[in-house]
Amino acid sequence: MAGVPLLDVRDLTVEFQTRRGTVTAVRNVDISVAKGETVAIVGESGSGKSVTSYAVMRILDRAGRIAEGSVTFGGIDIRHADEDDMRNLRGREISMIFQNPRAALNPIRKVGRQIEDVLLEHVKATPSEVTDKAVEILDQVKIARPRERYHAYPFELSGGMCQRVVIALALACRPQLLIADEPTTGLDVTTQKTVMDLIVELTRERGMSTILITHDLGLAATYCDRVMVMEKGNVVESATARAVFTEPSHPYTRKLMRATPRPGVSLRDLLPEDASGAASAVTKLPVAAGERKPLLTVEKLVKEYPRKGLEGIGGTVKKLLRRGPVPEPDTFRAVDGISFEIDRGESVGLVGESGCGKSTTSTMIMRLIDKTEGTILFDGEDIGEIPAKAFARLPLRKRIQMVFQDPTDSLNPRFTAARAIADPILRLGDIKGGAAVRARCEELARQVGLPLDLLDRFPHQLSGGQKARVGIARAIALKPDLVILDEPTAALDVSVQAVVLNLLQDLKETLGMSYLFVSHDLNVVRLLCDRVIVMCAGKIVEEGPTERVMSAPEAQYTRDLLAAIPQPKFGRSESESPRRAATS
């Protein structure tokens, strides 16, 4: 790291004025980024990683301010530069890519015009040249038919496409430093890979420096030279990607590192060292074919929606994309004739990218919506024939339960934790009397590891992990045979995710339930499931034992999915995973 760094942040402290007083979001942070270097800032939500980058750009919102420290970029003192100089710097020298690309673009302005706005601001050019230039930049970020897309509005483009436009916007004036704030969060894993590859390719070819802000250690280690780990506003570790990944020195980094699901580790490995020591990993073996006792059999299941229901953003995109003379049917098949089985005590993963029909499938099995065609046999009974409305009152309802994706959304804000857990017991259970119900709630709370004194709190007084436990307790309250897990950890930080996944595994082993685990993340599914089903566009493209699908995928789509998971170039450290070398 010889010479003067391009960006030099010393002792940066950022404070926010809130209704509860002053909060220090970032404390004494040092960052230096050399020319052409790629640095990652990794941390969980609330670690202050985004705030740091906003401070560098000086676009903190009204309540925030740089309280201490200095920010120097190419010799310019950013903390004390006047607003005009800053404006010249932003977009031209330093630019930024944000998460949620669709929201990052002006919804009622053509994307081409938005790029032109930036060009006109920073580049001396006439309006006619600028249009050509905008089209050229759209072409550079590999947008097909750029001249046509120039006239598109953000809502007419897919999420990945919008992110390309945001990248185009950021790179339009050939800045020296790019700050990418969670650029791929919310995108499908295959889209994530193409977007990241594009960013790396473009920045490398222009000799730019990059700061990548992410919660994903794997992503950081795959694409960056150096990694800084932040926790609660402090930088706890800063080293080369290889060093952080292979020999993390700070306990927090080690915890984060361990908690990140990755090939070659078992569920127990995700827990912090002290916690995992006691629980020995149980190596799961594929169930032999002879002893199968199907609990759930799904045959040729179909769900069709009328096209009209596809109005809105997604619908419009689809309409624009279909420019053929081919007449479209009036209905859209969200689930297109799928068949599979789940055995007693088995965990099956249902994996696919957004819009593949996995959630529709699970909701139909859940009997919350009615199928269009096919059969759903549960323990020999055709529950697919019972209308969703009637099913709610049947005793069978007890036997199929669900853990929801967003623990906050799935708890009634007006119910205490105990009341939420008690709800199914009161409605469908056979326990009567307040004291008995309360006792059952406490038993369930102990089972899911929820401290009893939290039972009388309301959801907003609980943390994300605690809320997830309440949701799980509610789902197992009636001792169901089948629990559908709908992305149960998608809204959680990785360290919480590790704990929750382990809890689910323990519960399964003690209570003997079957799981249908719906997720977009093969690495997570792998940890919990004996078998996986991969779905794409409403159809099953591959099905088989987890290890086999992960190590020797047959379908091209599965291979793409696996290849898209960020994989650091270096192997795992000896101390971390002695058992197995990285798969494939």
């Binding site: 919102d61 929201a103 930036v118 950021a170």
Partner: protein, 337 residues
């Protein structure tokens, strides 16, 4: 774009049908004998029976409705009892007075409220912001007839700046030759600056009254939606791209913030058209509102019915225009249509 407007136009039809049904029901079905209303306070049983017959009130309801619709289609709103003149003619001749007042009031209000809302949002927490809050809450709390009277007292009685509240023109001025029916425009067309000044003088206070009333919701909505847009991701992107403050606020924030404001305009029109009635009474303004109020007090129902129907149709048309305007600003509506 034209197809979208056409489609939107079609949705107006069921609303109009609903409006006609409601105005019909108001007279025929609700308790109370419409013949008694139509006959007026000095009616004898014979005259009531006669009126019932001439009005067709002895026929079954569907037939009455068909007749009512048929009359409306011919532009026949019935005759006023007190003046004997056809309601339709009366309303047509008085409509420009009301329209001029309402539009002028709305324009005044927009010219104050929108900049106020924008500045309040951009300089959140400044004195402009506080003024905006006070004005917004006070404005919706002021009964419009009370504001009108206060303004008359201050500007006519105390200060002597405004003319007496006696309608569109005082006794000494003559109305300009009718072209649009708007005195401000007609007097300019005729090149009569004297009349222009006189009618502007008469118009200012009632229009200001309406403006004060409609200022609040517009300023409030502008401020709120500007604040929301200013903290949105795309404004952050624009700022991070180094765009000028003016470009960010006008091209990026303002145009997006206008969308909810345009929607609020529908509600504002509803308030304005209602408030119009009260303002016309305070300022002796010869519009359709004061016509309806006079008729109401004499239990002369045909003008009231015609008035309610006219206002509803006007309002439906205004809402249609607002929707079209929304479509012009927002490509999402335009393309999905």
């Amino acid at each position: 774009m034209l197809a979208t407007i056409g489609k939107r136009f079609m949705t107006v039809i069921p609303t109009l049908i609903g409006v006609v049904i409601v105005t019909f029901l108001l007279t025929r079905v609700l308790p109370g004998d419409p013949a008694v209303y139509f006959a007026g306070p000095a009616a004898t049983p014979q005259s009531i029976a006669e009126i019932r017959k001439t009005l067709g009130l002895d026929r079954p309801l569907p037939e009455q409705f068909a007749r009512y619709v048929g009359d409306l289609a011919k532009g026949d709103f019935g005759n006023s009892l007190s003046t004997g003149r056809p309601v339709a003619t009366e309303i047509t001749s008085r409509l420009p007075a009301s329209a001029e007042l309402t539009l002028f009031g709305l324009i005044m209000s927009l010219m104050i409220a929108v900049p106020l809302g924008i500045v309040a949002a951009v300089k959140q927490g400044s004195w402009v912001d506080h003024t905006c809050r006070v004005v917004a809450t006070a404005g919706v709390s002021l009964p419009v007839f009370f504001t009108g009277l206060l303004l008359v007292y201050v500007f006519y009685y105390l200060a002597g700046w405004a003319p007496a509240p006696v309608g569109r023109l005082d006794a000494f001025a003559t109305a300009p030759p009718q072209v649009t029916g708007f005195y401000l425009i007609d007097s300019l067309i005729a090149g009569d600056l004297e009349t222009f000044r006189a009618s502007l003088g008469q118009l200012l206070l009632p229009a200001l009254t309406l403006a004060v009333f409609s200022l609040a919701p517009i300023a409030r909505m502008t401020r709120a939606s500007m604040l929301a847009v200013l903290s949105s991701d795309f404004v952050r992107t624009a700022r991070a791209s180094g765009l000028k403050g003016r470009t960010v606020i006008i091209t990026y924030a303002f145009r997006n913030a206008m969308l909810p404001v345009v929607t609020t305009l529908g509600m504002v029109f509803s308030f304005l058209l209602g408030a119009n009635v009260l303002v016309e009474k305070v300022f002796a303004w010869p519009g359709i509102g004061s016509y309806a109020v006079e008729a109401l007090l004499q239990s002369d129902f045909a003008p009231v019915q015609g008035f309610v129907l006219t206002m509803a149709v006007l309002y439906v048309v205004l809402n249609l225009l607002i929707d079209i305007l929304y479509g012009v600003i927002d490509p999402r509506v335009r393309l999905e249509g």
